[in-house]
Amino acid sequence: MSVLKRFLSRVFRKNETEIHELSYLFWECTWRCNLACRHCGSDCKAETNVTDMPFADFLRAIEPLEQRYPRDTVVIAITGGEPLLRNDLADCGRALRQHGFRWGIVTNGMLYDEARHRELVAAGLSSITVSLDGLEETHNWLRQHPQSFQRALRALRLIANESQLIYDVVTCVHGRNLKELPQLKELLIANGIRHWRLFTIAPIGRAAGDRELMLSRTQVEEMLQFIAATRKEGRIDLKFSCEAYTGKYEEEVRDSYFFCRAGINIGSVLLNGDICACPNINRSFRQCNIYEDNLLDVWDNRFQVMRDRTWMRCGMCAKCKDFKQCLGGAMHLRPAYGEPIRRCYNFRER
């Protein structure tokens, strides 16, 4: 059965790649951030001399999508930096809804209080992800702010009580919080949270040189076993992120098999107008710019480097017998075109 399911998942992936419908578009609306997290993949800062992208520019870029995609079929993921630092966020969201786009945010929760919650939900917020990276001491250490844990918890309680909001909590797992995961699980359940997702920290951005943040291979396996055991319990919907193929754990740590959808269903408009896929992908993979090109044309006719991944068969992937299932792993772990993957989480049956 497992062999059949794996085969079908490959057919499904191939088919999705041929269709390549845009269904998820990141908008990197700002580089400003009110935290300076040790693990930030984009190295955002509180002070930046790069101004936010005007919403009118973004809206102009996505208008051609309205002709192609029916109402509510493209989701705009507003990210940064910290999107709640934009005072016009609710106005942006309201306008997106009027143009037939769903929208959501990824936030550290620092500014997410009751008033902001009500304002954003009224503006059509459909989904939200809040980061919580450990128990109080650990979270505050990673986020480098003494109130960051309590603020994130306040945000979590608000979203957990909003019945028609799709949400999850994201935890970046590292050496300091790995052993806290069971306690963190209980904390989330006690606060009404039902959806949780774990990441490891990629060696990119500010985290690139920090070995303390990187899990060893043994620790990664311990994390995957925790996810599998928690999923069996059924008390909280826990998943491993889409960051890596996990070999023998594939059917135990997610609802579906690993599938990096970057450039297949996922695109992005970055702060400077560059068009790419997930914002944590190396920016050398950019595909044109909204200030010079039509986003719909670019989506339809570019992104070959992500839709044909045969070039990824290099480095440790070159002779890997699981390549057809993993297709070279996640795009964000490739430093540039033709370069080998930075890390592999393929755990084989012994």
Partner: protein, 135 residues
Amino acid sequence: MFKHLKEKKQKLLRFLFGSFSFTALMFTFQACYGMPERTFDTIVQGKVTDAETSEPIGGLQVTSDLGFTATTDQNGIFIDSSEVRHLYEYSEYLITVTDVDSTENGQYERLDTVVWASDLTQPLQLQVKKVSDAQ
């Protein structure tokens, strides 16, 4: 023409292979460090019956802001044959049932109903009232 058929075939394949290879019909879609979206692939279908007698009604037109028009058969069944729909949880859609065949099967009031995307993973059960019943 051929391109359109190919697209329809690909969307049907998506529905079939997605349903078989994943553990649930609904699956959560999320990008690296993006928020989740829960989606369904479904073929919209349903049955229209008389609100009073529960008898199926043929010849009624069913439309939706999803962008399809269908007609109920003798068993009151309608199906959106245009394509497999990729829907997001908590999206709302308007379904309208209109009596377009004059008095052939009796005359029925127009029905406008809003449904959640998740309601569309099962055949819809719609009931309409006879005009004479309402008066």
